[in-house]
């Protein structure tokens, strides 16, 4: 590590780092530090923060409940079209969130292919509801759980499972007592990343679930709306998200970079 790096590399690296750091520095410098507590404890911000926690945690739960079994199938299953399924599952990660929102409307909106049926049969409407915000956040965050959990399952030596089976453990028991504990670190990492993604979700939420204080207006939507009238307030709210994201990245630094 003591070899000198080429100067051009250092320059490019510094530009790269500055480019990423500048917006954060900008937020910190322009933040209304004098009234930040007052802003963040105000009724509007508190409602948005509470709702954001609720929605992002529920979305994480849904992502884990459906994502982990899916990851297991992708890691251990032998079936045609597995590559297609995997690509589909990862799609929300690269799709523009607003496109995700439009897609969700076509599927689960009041006139969507499944949504119209949901409303007619069960009287359930997802658009403009907190449940809809959870659906939107789950859609964009489930790939992170699947990716991380699948990597975990794949890195696990199948001989552990075979050994458990030889010793008489049923598949469900093996999964619960052998496999899941061994991949717990990857599951936690996936869940935390999914949570962070859900917390920052904007485009799919406003497109699919709408924007109403106390019901669907999470912190990113509140930032957007506050920006219309009060830039300092929007910056204060933004900083909360920046801070939470940094906490997540610091907590997961080993998993993400592979170094300490």
């Amino acid at each position: 590590m003591h070899r000198r790096l080429p100067l051009s590399f250092v320059v490019l690296g510094v530009i790269g780092a500055a480019f990423v750091a500048l917006p954060v520095v900008g937020l910190a410098l322009r933040a209304p530090w004098g009234r930040i507590v007052e802003i963040l404890t105000g009724p509007g911000a508190r409602t948005a923060l509470r709702l954001s926690l609720e929605v992002s945690l529920l979305a994480t739960l849904c992502s884990v409940v459906f994502g982990v079994p899916l990851a297991w199938i992708l890691a251990r299953g032998r079936f045609r079209g597995r590559a297609v399924v995997r690509a589909l599952v990862i799609l929300p990660l690269v799709l523009p969130p607003v496109v995700a929102g439009v897609g969700l409307l076509q599927a689960l909106g009041r006139r969507g292919i499944v949504g119209s049926w949901l409303e007619r049969v069960a009287g359930i409407q997802l658009t403009f509801t907190t449940a809809g915000a959870v659906v939107a956040a789950t859609f964009v965050s489930i790939p992170l759980v699947v990716l991380s959990a699948e990597a975990g399952f794949r890195s696990l030596d199948p001989r552990f499972e075979r050994a458990a089976a030889v010793l008489g453990a049923k598949p469900g028991y093996t999964l619960r007592r052998v496999v899941l504990p061994m991949v717990a670190p990857q599951l936690v990492a996936g869940a935390v990343l999914a949570w962070a993604r859900a917390l920052g979700e904007f485009g799919a939420t406003i497109t699919f679930a709408g924007n109403l204080e106390g019901r669907t207006q999470t912190v990113p939507l509140a930032v957007f709306q506050t920006l219309q009238t009060d830039q300092e307030g929007a910056i204060a709210l933004s900083l909360v998200l920046v801070l939470l994201s940094i906490c997540v990245l610091v907590a997961l630094r080993d998993r993400i970079t592979g170094t300490g």
Partner: protein, 262 residues
Amino acid sequence: MKPKALVAVLLATLVLAACSPSSSTSASTNGSAASTELTVFAASSLTSAFNEIGSDFEGANPGATVTFNYGSSTDLATQIASEGTADVFASASGTAMDTAGKDPGVEDRADFATNQLVIVTPTDDPACISSLEDLGTPGVQLVLGAEGVPVGDYARQMLEQDGLTKQVMPNVVSNEPDDASVVAKVKSGEADAGIVYTSDIASNADVRGVTIPTKQNVIATYPVAVVAGSSNADVASSFVAYVTGSHGEATLKRYGFGPPSG
């Protein structure tokens, strides 16, 4: 590519990215040295009308190229102060123009159009809406522009003046970022009704409009002005004159705008 060249390219990209407005529609690019490029910041409700006025203006003024940046008037006013690239500002509200008037300042300010509010419903009108009062029927799912977005502020102002706030506001299910999003939510049938400008639905057959009587309605007045410090002040002035002139008025009328009052 040599590292130095790469650095230069990257720097150029950074600078360009920093300068480019969020959503610009370039009428034409790569103007020759003799041409003048005019950057017009305009309220998103003006999109269709101004695209046409822009190309008409270019036709009447060879060498001039008009580039539009459409968005919420409030956002645009903020961008004008921070970016300093706008030559002309056409706002959907006097308040946003006042903001730009304070920083960086405006010249030749004139009202050039008016717009009224209208109720929109899906074509099959599932909630049976035929008046403003109907919006207060329990269970109606109404979408408005968000507070601070002119179309949302005007709608709230109208409901307040008609004494319908208490009845209608509980039915609001979403506060949308702009008028186009309100129309989209209604068009898709997610919402039962929305309140937008008449100009938003003038060329839109996919939604049903319910006229709001003049005595219940509010009139939105659109001001246009040359932004102080414009490097093309002359062309900017003639664009403003073109918009406020008879040709501009005729085009605006076709897109559902009324003449400026008074």
